[in-house]
């Protein structure tokens, strides 16, 4: 419970938060500042410095409640996740000569990157992973076809507010949408966590992004994220924890929040959260155990950088090849012909995204000049989209439905691009060569913009298709 905020000229404590129940003393402190603290040293125990979300989570996870930005702590994660690279994790882990990981109940394994298997080698890797999860007693295993790891962590309520979450995938930041500190690590590092239950982490500085206004028609969280990528740049949030706040994010459902946290990785963020609120609590309604509290930065906690963006006049945004930060209004890209349109991924493969695409596609046909590929982010997304008739609309328009998973995003299967081909994608990376040929081009956009582009066979503004 936060009581009062006061400024005290005391060298060790710049800003302090008084716990409730000390109102009178608080007034005294306001008057006499540091002198009072010196006179009543027992008060100091009731005073804690204002702290950021990152400091609170990493402080708790490291048993060091005084941890501050810049400190290096040894932290124990609440949950860890790996996908196909579980194979690499286990390769390093097996060198330790241990029977099983420190806590199989905290491990989630998902097969999503190359599912169903795209090669004999992948099939063999999948088989080895299926065996090791049995051997180690890892119960939270999601086999090929269940969905994308980042989607499942949130959708299955595996990640909870205030947790420290590690994943062997850069877009682990996505789980910040429900108020967790979630960050990506490599496979060998995860092997170390499997062995010891902890790892070193530097407590990051905080980067506040205040988003105000309401999304205009045809503009989505993805457009905001692409616009932010241009403002912040590919390393502008390096090593920092982004906190999204403001009237816009308060209106965003969890799906849109996941887009912002997912795309924060493309700005270099170590972690990203949408400041948890009633939407977050509603997401966990009925969950056992109940979510009774969320972790947030104290109101006057230090933030190293702060930007404000009003989205009121934002147009649909497209990022041109080969940099996410090369994003501009969709009208700057008109007449760019496309060969492939792709809707899916951990960024934009959710039910809301398929609905937005179907709104554009309803009663229309994909251009004969291009193909449309749609990959739901999970089996649940697919089932819900079937129930709602969304899949039927997409298929009737000429879209090709692929099984839940990462799909063609990483260039290993299911829609690889050839030399000279152009793709508009709802994914998060347009890096050269990512989806196949180095001579192909990838444009990033919202699912609605991708769908409109599929209809026209060239990059198109979705607003003209939305009632």
């Amino acid at each position: 419970m936060i009581g009062y905020l006061v400024e005290i000229p005391f060298p060790a404590i710049r800003k302090v938060t008084l716990l409730s129940g000390v109102d009178q003393l608080c007034c005294t402190i306001r008057l006499a500042s540091s002198f009072v603290i010196l006179k009543y040293p027992h008060l100091v125990g009731a005073i804690v410095a204002s702290r950021t979300f990152a400091e609170k989570v990493l402080g708790r996870a490291s048993g060091n409640p005084k941890a501050e930005a810049g400190d290096v702590v040894e932290a124990s994660p609440d949950l860890v996740m790996s996908h196909e690279n579980t194979y690499l994790v286990n390769k390093s882990f097996s060198e330790f000569g241990l029977d099983r990981p420190w806590d199989p109940n905290r491990i989630v394994v998902v097969l999503d990157h190359r599912t169903p298997a795209n090669s004999v080698q992948t099939a063999s890797v999948h088989a080895q992973i299926r065996q090791l999860v049995k051997d180690y007693g890892i119960k939270r295993f999601f086999d090929a076809g269940e969905g994308i790891c980042h989607q499942l962590l949130v959708e299955e309520r595996l990640v909870r507010p205030g947790q420290l979450v590690l994943g062997t995938d850069s877009h682990t930041t996505t789980a910040g949408a429900v108020g967790s500190f979630a960050t990506g690590i490599g496979a060998t590092e995860m092997a170390g966590v499997w062995a010891t239950g902890s790892l070193w982490l530097k407590v990051p500085e905080t980067f506040k992004v205040e988003l105000s206004g309401h999304l205009p028609k045809g503009v989505y969280a993805k457009d905001v994220a692409l616009r932010l990528a241009a403002i912040v740049g590919p390393s502008g949030a390096d090593y920092r924890c982004i906190e999204f706040d403001g009237s816009l994010v308060q209106d965003l459902p969890i799906a849109g929040r996941m887009v912002l946290c997912n795309m924060s990785m493309e700005m270099g963020a170590k972690a990203a959260i949408v400041v948890p609120d009633s939407v977050t609590k509603e997401w966990f309604r009925g969950n056992v155990p109940p979510v009774t509290a969320v972790v947030r930065s104290d109101p006057d906690a230090d933030c190293e950088r702060r930007i404000e963006v009003d989205v009121l006049r934002l147009s649909p945004v497209v990022a041109g090849p080969h940099k996410v930060e090369d994003s501009k209004s969709v009208d700057k890209f008109k007449d760019v012909r496309i060969d492939q349109a792709f809707i899916g991924t951990c960024t934009n493969g959710r039910l809301e995204d398929l609905i937005a695409a179907a709104q554009v596609l309803k009663g229309r046909k994909v251009s004969a000049e291009c193909r449309l590929i749609v990959t739901p982010a999970s089996r649940k997304v697919l089932a819900d989209a079937l129930d709602m008739g969304v899949v039927q609309t997409i298929v009737a328009a000429g879209g090709t439905l692929l099984p839940p998973g990462c799909g063609p995003c990483l260039g290993s299967h299911e829609g690889v691009l050839g030399p000279g081909e152009v793709c508009i994608s709802s994914s998060n990376r347009n890096f050269q060569g990512r989806m196949g040929s180095e001579d192909a081009e990838i444009y990033l956009a919202s699912p609605a913009t991708v769908a409109a582009s599929a209809v026209e066979g060239k990059i198109a503004d979705p607003r003209r298709y939305l009632a």
Binding site: V72, N85, Y87, L88, K91, S92, E95, F96, G97, L98, R114, N118, S119, Q121, T122, V125, T168, D169, S170, G184, I185, G186, A187, T188, E189, A191, G192, A195, T196, W200, P234, S235, D238, Y239, G268, K270, K323, L410, G411, S412, V416, R429, F431, Q432, G433, R434, G436, E438
Partner: protein, 165 residues
Amino acid sequence: MSGKARIWLFGDDVNTDLIIPGKYLDNYDPAHLAAHAMEGINKNFANDVSNGDIIVAGRNFGCGSSREQAVIALKHAGVEAVVAKSFARIFYRNAINLGFPVIVSGTASTVFKDGDSAVLDMDSGTLSSRDGAKVAAVEQIPAHVKTIVDAGGLVPYIKRRLGKN
């Protein structure tokens, strides 16, 4: 860590898709990965790189995915170290964990040209040309990660911690 090396110069934001494209990640064999190192940005690199060569780059080297294969590819291609203005954090951690030197230098990418020959000397904290005409200061590896580097990477470091050595 000291030796003569050819400098391979790259710019800012060299991402992991350029270092090792996703289409090669099916096969975890280090030799296979090394054969495609930096293919996305320089098709001749894997062929022409020699043991002990050094990559010098700008800001945010290794941004993008968490794929550890990016480090494995460079290490097994014979690259001795990457000296960059800054590193993307997951690439940096992966490199430390695999015992691959990643060194920060604010000036190396402007002091050196591609193809220069240079000596990396961590004792003096410099990357310098053979004739001494060009010198760039390099930062020491921070103490909290140096213990991992000194152990040869995270696996030997943890083995020691677990008393398995």
